[in-house]
């Protein structure tokens, strides 16, 4: 049986302490710049905050994984190298990387620190994963949320590293690390700047009939009726019109979150080493609720008990949850 480590999000020092106290085996976080894919306003850690956070986590036996999972544009690579050097000085337990140049630098400069391959690298086959293992010594791959459990089981048999899968949170649809949708509308890039639907370009408007519309850089993403639940103003969860869908429909995906709580035993059996909870942009309240629920569930499963996971639907986007691709190929 795998260790089934629980990998938890932390957008602020207080959220990190919350995740540690709620039973995280490891916490992932990033600096306050473009070196990570949640470069959101008011979020993330200064180097001093990171040092204090690592001390707190290590004191409680929790690991800290530093996300350096964006793609430096040419001319700016030093920022990523400096972030890696700072992480090494602080004593983080692993780097989560996507860019080959960044991976190569860390593998040569900080060979004693573990490298995890970010979902942003979009390695979805044994060959792609082995490429990163062979060349950069990657110890763990975070799999894209597009594979069924039988597919994960097969990949596990063919790769020399550990597998981490998302189990809860944002249900990413596009192949991560290959999405320029935000940059197309806003001029800020998910890959290069670490942003997705930046708040500075988001606008909500309430209408007289109680409906609310969301716009990104002036483009209407969705309009929620008075009784409809809402979602993030992300382009891939927007409502659009197409020639065959003149009334508008969710062309990519409706507002919905991933929740694999019922599939945990199968995922463990398939050889998944670590479970990742998405949501560095979420509050301490979310971190506390989700982490403690999954801590309980994983402990139950490991003790051979039936896991009785708390209802988390209230925390989900659109107040809806899905098992996405993990459950059935039909999702595709």
């Amino acid at each position: 049986m795998s260790l089934a480590e629980l990998i938890c999000p932390a957008g602020t020092p207080a959220a990190l302490r919350t995740a540690v106290d709620a039973g995280a085996d490891a916490v992932y976080c990033g600096f306050q710049d473009a070196t990570n894919a949640r470069n959101f306003p008011g979020l993330n850690f200064t180097p001093d905050e990171m040092a204090a956070a690592v001390a707190y986590a290590h004191d409680k036996g929790t690991k800290v994984l530093l996300a350096l999972n964006t793609y430096p544009p040419a001319g700016k690579v030093d920022l990523w190298r400096q972030a890696a050097d700072a992480g090494a000085r602080i004593g983080v337990d692993a780097f989560i990387v996507a860019d080959m140049g960044v991976a190569d630098y860390i593998a040569r400069t900080h060979p004693d620190i573990r490298l995890h391959l970010s979902v942003q690298a979009a390695a979805s086959s044994p060959e792609a994963i082995r490429y990163y293992c062979d060349n950069f010594g990657v110890k763990r791959v975070v799999l894209p949320r597009i594979l069924t459990i039988p597919e994960i089981r097969e990949i596990r048999r063919e790769i020399p590293c550990e597998i981490e899968t998302f189990i809860f949170g944002n249900h990413g649809l596009m192949v991560e690390g290959r999405c320029s949708l935000t940059n197309y509308l806003t001029g800020q890039s998910t890959n290069m700047d670490g942003v997705c639907s930046p708040a500075s370009d988001v606008e909500y408007a309430r209408h007289a009939d109680g409906s609310m519309s969301s716009r990104l850089a002036g483009f209407t993403i969705d309009c929620f009726g008075a009784d409809e639940k809402a979602g993030y103003p992300t382009i891939c969860k927007g409502r659009y019109r197409a020639p065959h869908r003149p009334d508008g429909y969710y062309a990519f995906e409706e507002p919905i979150s991933l929740n694999l709580s019922r599939l945990l035993p199968e995922l463990i059996d398939a050889g998944v080493h670590a479970f990742k909870i998405e949501g560095r942009q979420r509050s301490k309240s979310y971190v506390r609720g989700v982490v403690s629920a999954f801590r309980q569930a994983v402990d139950d499963i490991r003790a051979g008990r039936q896991a009785n996971i708390a209802d988390l639907v209230a925390l989900t986007e659109g107040q809806k949850q899905t098992q996405g691709a993990f459950e059935t190929k039909k999702w595709r």
């Binding site: 690579v77 080959m100 960044v102 320029s180 949708l181 001029g187 890959n191 019109r241 595709r332």
Partner: protein, 302 residues
């Protein structure tokens, strides 16, 4: 000498249309290099792969260098096999679009495709050390970064390619959005993407054109048009300019860009000619200028 290239067809054009298209390209289009092969959806490959040898031969007879491109997304058995088979080719010129292809190719020479995220000099240097001979930069890379990346690539002896025409690839997914629009799943898509030779248009609910769906790919509504920036690109070290096939007269598009390269047209003249060929399609160059990709930034002097 700057080379003009024709990227792989992103859409599911019927086999006969493809044959006609490449016959015309071979005979009439002033492009130096042509990329072939299915990059977007592995389900489509059987429709046109049988024609591949004849197409290659036809294009070579027309004096074009032919490069076969690999799939952007590799997950299923058939996709892994297609990628491995391509990587096993003896041909010096294959373009790899997924790390699975890099793994299979080892250190033998290859080109790096636009889906491989060669964003910076460090990554390009790494790729060059592993046998890359040529790199196509990501479409969203701004001009200053293109210049820095191109400088490194040139020092290492690599060719440097930038897309200067056609819809930008904005995202790929495991899910097929063409099938979804028609209430189907990817496994049961019935190749409905064949209906949209230039992608399926999406408009916002207040009727503003925004994106194009091409199977698992999402593209820009606008055509990237870097004709006004072409001289700058070349001065910055870009060696290859890529035209993406759209449902317009691509021979005319290629002729226009060639006229610009050969100084038979000035940038304004080339721009006007391109506008006539593409009718009402919006043009954009925002990515190059570090602004919203859909935007059209007026050319600065020089």
């Amino acid at each position: 000498m700057t080379k003009l290239t024709l990227g792989p067809i992103a859409y599911h054009w019927p086999a006969e249309d493809r044959r006609d298209f490449y016959a015309r390209i071979a005979d009439e289009a002033p492009v130096d290099e042509v990329y072939l092969g299915e990059v977007i959806c592995s389900k489509r490959a059987p429709f046109h792969e049988p024609d591949l040898p004849a197409t290659i031969e036809r294009l070579q007879r027309g004096g074009k260098t032919v490069i076969v491109s690999s799939l952007a997304e590799v997950m299923l058995k058939r996709e892994r096999k297609a990628t491995a088979d391509l990587a096993a080719l003896d041909a010096p010129e294959i373009e790899i679009n997924n790390a699975a292809g890099l793994y299979a190719r080892g250190r033998r020479p290859h080109r790096v495709g636009p889906f491989l995220n060669a964003y910076n000099e460090a990554t390009i240097a790494w790729m060059a050390s592993q046998g890359a001979t040529h790199v196509c930069l990501p479409t969203e890379l701004p001009g200053a970064a293109i210049a820095t990346a191109a400088a490194t690539a040139r020092e290492l002896g690599l060719g440097v390619e930038v897309q200067v025409f056609g819809r930008a690839s904005l995202a790929v997914s495991a899910r097929c959005y063409h099938a979804r629009a028609h209430g189907r799943t990817k496994d049961n898509c019935q190749f409905v993407c064949e209906e949209d030779a230039d992608g399926m248009p999406l408009r916002t609910t207040d009727d503003r054109p925004i994106l194009r769906v091409n199977g698992i790919q999402t593209q820009s509504e606008s055509y990237v048009d870097l004709l006004p920036e072409t001289r700058r690109l070349i001065a910055d070290g870009v060696t290859h300019l890529r035209l993406m096939p759209q449902a317009v007269d691509m021979v005319a598009v290629a002729g226009t860009v060639r006229d610009l390269l050969d100084d038979r047209l000035d940038p304004a003249g080339a721009e006007a000619a391109l506008r006539r060929i593409c009718d009402a399609v919006p043009f954009s160059n925002g990515f190059y200028h570090g602004q919203a990709g859909y935007r059209r930034i007026a050319a600065a002097a020089g």
